[in-house]
């Protein structure tokens, strides 16, 4: 046997290569180039948060009991002894107080869910404002937007499972939204819940299987598709020295980028575990078990549902009712129409932009800066500010408590801002972007400068000269 055959690195590669022909693939993977820019880490952040979610969620699922069967509590959390509650809530209490490291993992799971969706949203905005969704990446953009929608649903399912007071209030609202759908809402609601809310005992296991199997499987599949498409197309890159449409400039996967990315994963995990261990989140033992007859003031959902509660709150009391039917319950407008419009715009954006703004059907691998396409930047800023306005309206009760502006006044302000804020933000963003773009295209146009020249004999002279465009 030669030395090469015994080489501990080469030998496994040879083994796989001789059976699967994988050596070329491995080499391609090691040489895969990642452009160096911090904003490319946002998508990785979402991916790593998902990994943490799966890891912590698997652990939690081993202890959680998805049952609404009522029992009288005598578990690990003393203050609620003797209280009637569901098996689900009781097991969540026991995970928090009885299972060693259970609370750490439960809180890490919750923080990871908040981070997962936040990272997707910021990643989406990065992709939007840099035009990374343009041909040939429209499909991957659509997969990404779908993951955002599914991620929001998954988060909602997760905190609904626990059957504490807040999760029950959230489910009641979901029930109200489903019922409000024209024509079929009542039937769909009765099907999903197995009858009138809070529904049959079958509902909780349905919620559980959706949260721990169906939706995560869909998310994992979409993540795989998302990554496969990136590998096929390679990353986009910003303009810069040597960067062309037909190349990628950056750090190869092996070894520097792999270490860097693992470091980023460890950073993500570190922040989440530190938050999970040191910063309390969703202390369910303080909310108490859910009862249909109970509700609490100042209740707020996880942040990523704030825009939906805001939409439900600022919608005026309008419930069209004629010919003996309620054509759409009021929650339909804030809970179905508004998010549908938001996601429809997001999904359709690559084609809307192509058709109405750029008329640009070419392939792009070089990114725009926000200033490079003022119309996209303006519409995007207007759109996101529109959603954020509604988001802030969802916090009006907290603002009332901390600042003292009357709730009704805030709702009326938010209703006005719903129409006005996007216009103001859009116009401002347009002006800023287009000014920056023009000054970039023609730096120091028309400026007159004086040059100081040193003559061969050592003396100095000033020369008036017009700076050439592009020279600055």
């Amino acid at each position: 046997m030669s030395d090469a055959a015994r080489d501990p690195v080469a030998e496994p590669i040879r083994f796989v290569d001789e059976r699967l022909g994988a050596a070329k693939l491995i080499r391609g993977a090691l040489d895969y180039v990642f452009p160096d820019h911090w904003s490319f880490l946002l998508g990785e952040l979402a991916l790593y948060a998902f990994v943490i979610l799966v890891a912590t969620g698997t652990y939690l699922a081993l202890f959680f009991e998805p049952s609404t069967t009522q029992l009288v509590y005598h578990g690990a959390y003393g203050p609620l002894h003797g209280v009637q509650m569901s098996g689900a809530y009781a097991s969540a209490l026991d995970i928090s107080y009885g299972v060693p490291a259970g609370l750490l993992l439960r809180q890490t799971h919750h923080w990871a869910a908040l981070l997962f969706i936040a990272a997707i949203v910021v990643h989406l905005m990065r992709v939007f404002f840099t035009g990374a969704f343009r041909k040939p990446r429209e499909l991957n953009y659509v997969v990404g937007v779908a993951m955002l929608a599914i991620g929001v649903l998954e988060g909602f399912l997760g905190y609904s499972l626990v059957d504490d007071l807040l999760s029950g209030m959230g489910l009641a609202i979901a029930y109200g939204v489903v019922l409000s759908i024209p024509l079929v809402g009542g039937q769909v609601g009765a099907l999903l819940w197995g009858g009138q809310y809070p529904g049959s005992v079958a509902f909780e296991p349905r919620l559980f299987i959706a949260h721990v199997f169906l939706v995560p499987a869909i998310l994992a599949t979409l993540i795989a598709v998302h990554l496969a498409m990136i590998v096929r197309q390679h990353h986009t890159q910003f303009r810069g020295p040597g960067r062309q449409e037909h190349n990628v400039v950056g750090t190869p996967m092996w070894p520097a980028y792999a270490l860097r990315s693992l470091s980023w994963f460890a950073t993500t995990a570190a922040v989440l575990v530190l938050l999970g261990g040191l910063v309390q989140i969703n202390p369910i033992w303080q909310w108490g078990p859910y009862e249909v007859a109970q509700g609490t003031n100042g209740a707020q959902p996880d942040w990523y549902l704030g825009w939906l509660i805001g939409a439900l709150r600022i919608m005026p009391a309008w419930e069209p009712r004629f010919w003996g039917h309620t054509w759409a319950g009021n929650p339909f407008f804030g809970g179905v129409v508004f998010p549908t419009v938001v996601f429809a715009v997001l999904f359709a954006w690559p084609w809307l932009e192509q058709r109405f703004i750029t008329r640009d059907f070419a392939t792009h691998h070089l990114l725009d800066r926000p200033r490079d396409n003022p119309w996209r930047t303006a519409i995007g800023a207007a759109f996101f500010s529109w959603v954020f306005t509604v988001f802030f309206a969802g916090a009006a009760d907290r603002i009332l408590v901390s600042v003292g502006i009357p709730y009704e006044t805030q709702v009326w302000l938010a209703r006005g801002a719903f129409f006005v804020a996007p216009v103001i933000v859009g116009v401002a963003a347009y002006r800023i972007a287009s000014e920056l773009r023009r000054s970039d295209l023609h730096p120091l146009r028309g400026a007159v400068a004086r040059r100081v020249v040193r003559r061969p004999d050592g003396s100095f002279a000033t020369v008036a000269d017009e700076v050439e465009p592009g020279a600055g």
Binding site: D31, Y32, V33, T108, M169, A172, I173, L179, P182, V184, G185, G186, G189, A190, L192, G194, G195, Q196, S200, A202, H234, P241, G242, R243, E245, H246, N247, V249, G250, P255, A256, L259, R260, S263, A266, T267, A270, L274, G277, L278, Q294, G295, N297, L312, R313, M315, A317, E319, R321, H325, T326, G329, P331, I357, T358, T363, L366, D372, W375, R438
Partner: protein, 330 residues
């Protein structure tokens, strides 16, 4: 005159914007030429960086051991989180230092071959179309396949109907004439227990408390405050009123009661849902005063039995809970 001047200014501004807009759509200049070639490779780890990485990795391992020790002794959540978090922080720093100062640093240029192969499009389409080559009853087979697909799809989706009953029972409530109102502890609610301004939750006797139609809010107002429609005059004995506790907006519990302590400065009495702040006026049969709810809270007619307990004088005035297509029927 001033108006005209402003109009002219607006038109001029608009035209400037239009001109600017045309400029803003102009394509960007081509990317700069590939000079200088960004390719670079630097080998040679810094000795101090190597030592630092080793130290960080050892510290990371020790923190992992600390986690195990904490788990075996106190299992304190904060200590567990701090130990695991610190281990991960040390690992992250070690990997970052290794990535930037130990392993070879390289900026590489990878070609990006075109994705498309236009010459293959038409042949691929032709091969797909070949399925019908020499087949004379293409339409028939396609239609038959459609029948098979539709039948199978219908069969596959039908079991989903077992998920739940039909929507018939939505909005139903267990209240009948003579049903007694029970308090939180299951004791009959007595009229005498409610002073003016009182707010209580009551449940239908004999019904599951988790049933959506069971809970009602009971409030007592001054009798001269109550302005019910003529048909409901008798529903509020001694100014005591009962409404479904389930908000007609989205089904949360209407668990806030605003009652003015000072008539001069306070707002009028109101029942408020904490989810989206639908505000109902108990003096006027639960009418919506503010917020998103689309219809009044259903009212439960009350009577005071001979023994002083509160009983329902009839069923709820309408379907309880959030609106759906069929809510208008009853």
């Amino acid at each position: 005159m001033r108006l005209l001047a402003r109009l002219l200014a607006a038109v001029a501004a608009w035209r400037a914007v239009r001109r600017g807009a045309a400029q803003d759509r102009a394509p960007l200049p081509p990317p700069p030429p590939p000079e200088p070639d960004p390719r670079a490779r630097r080998v040679g780890a810094r000795a101090d960086a190597e030592r630092l990485v080793a130290a960080l990795l050892i510290a990371c391992g020790l923190c992992g051991v600390a986690f195990v020790v904490v788990y075996a002794t106190s299992a304190n959540t904060q200590l567990l989180g701090a130990a695991a978090g610190l281990a991960l922080v040390l690992l992250a720093v070690a990997l970052a230092v290794a990535s930037f100062a130990v392993v070879p640093q390289e900026t590489a240029v990878e070609p990006r071959p075109p994705l498309e192969a236009p010459a293959e499009v038409e042949p691929a389409a032709r091969e797909l179309r070949d399925v019908g080559e020499g087949v004379s009853r293409r339409g028939l087979i396609t239609a038959a396949a459609g029948v098979a697909g539709a039948g199978l799809a219908a069969a596959a989706i039908t079991p989903a109907a077992s998920l739940g009953p039909r929507a018939k029972g939505l909005g139903a409530a267990p209240w009948r004439r003579g049903t007694r109102l029970l308090d939180q502890d299951g004791r009959p609610l007595r009229a005498a227990a409610l002073v003016v301004g009182a707010f209580a939750t009551a449940f239908a006797e004999g019904a599951d408390r988790r049933e959506l139609g069971s809970p009602v809010v009971v409030v007592r107002l001054r009798e001269d405050e109550v302005h019910l429609p003529a048909a409901r005059r008798a529903w509020a004995p001694q100014g005591i009123l009962a409404f479904s506790k389930i908000c007609t907006h989205a089904g949360c519990a209407v668990s806030l009661f605003r009652y003015p302590l000072d008539q001069q400065t306070s707002k009028t009495p109101a029942l408020v849902c904490p989810c989206h702040y639908s505000t109902f006026d108990p003096r006027r049969a639960g009418r919506v005063e503010f917020g998103p709810a689309g219809r009044p809270l259903p009212q439960l007619p009350l009577a005071i039995a001979a023994d002083g307990t509160l009983v329902a004088a009839g069923p709820m005035s309408g379907p309880i809970g959030p609106a759906w297509w069929g809510v208008g029927h009853s």
